[in-house]
Symmetry: C2
Subunit: 147 residues, 2 copies
Amino acid sequence: MTYEQLKLNNQLCFRLYTAARLTVGAYHPYLDPLGITYPQYLVLLVLWEQDKQPVCDIAKRLMLDTNTVTPLLQRMEKSGLLRRTKGKTDTRQRIVSLTEKGSALREQAKHIPECLSANILEKMGSLEELTTLVPALDKLIEGLSER
Amino acid sequence: MTYEQLKLNNQLCFRLYTAARLTVGAYHPYLDPLGITYPQYLVLLVLWEQDKQPVCDIAKRLMLDTNTVTPLLQRMEKSGLLRRTKGKTDTRQRIVSLTEKGSALREQAKHIPECLSANILEKMGSLEELTTLVPALDKLIEGLSER
DNA sequence: TATTTTTGCATCGTGAACGATATAAATATG
DNA sequence: CATATTTATATCGTTCACGATGCAAAAATA
């Protein structure tokens, strides 16, 4: 019995960790001109789908905790992408809503997904294998996220 | 033509990003008792395979830059897991070698991969789908990492 | 050999992630 | 109604990830 399983190349998690890092990196050429980071882009995706959400709903959607999301939102408020107002029914809540600037970015971001697909397609030859990733990742995420 | 592609649920990268986070998180119960983080575990995996490597080789192996790896190694040196000595043939290099403590951790870490597999198996029912991830992730990583 | 370029490592600053902890408001329970 | 618990958010500290930059040693080139 050796240490075979302790070899880096046998580790699924390292692949996920690396693939995620590199994929986020592939967004840089498209997000830099908009002046936003990838996590900020994710927040915008959520708000573009539905504006005016409390912090906890955004956090749930991104599967992050508020201690990650709150500072993220504060930075985004500072850069004028959104506003954080006190909730009316529940005064503990902070309702996050897009500013004009935040809303307008949607139009500029519209083509990012296809740009990225094209980019990856060019580098990989085919997107076939990537689509097979989706259900497996979903199952993994579901398994690891249940309490 | 709508903003369909801008929906969070249609984003592969978000899945990768989330799956990676959650999987790293699944290591916590096993790494915390050893007093190391996941990136530190990765460094140890590399050094356990081959001791006494220059910083750049470790960085290459982990597909990270030295500006990430150097502080990581400095912290690990501080906690007594490794040493960083000046290279003899090439004095620019810093040769990283395991200490007694760093080497000894290997025995304790030996069962982590199978613990994690068992853990995930329990939560997902089957590991079948996960093995299909490996070749797709490898191809993605290769595509995104070429210069 | 002298000069240029590249390489290996380090430092700095910023933005995340996340554990731990705090606080006030809402809700549940006695 | 009073008290206990939960919930929504925030703050703090540590560790990463990474762009930008600096520096000295090695390698390449003139």
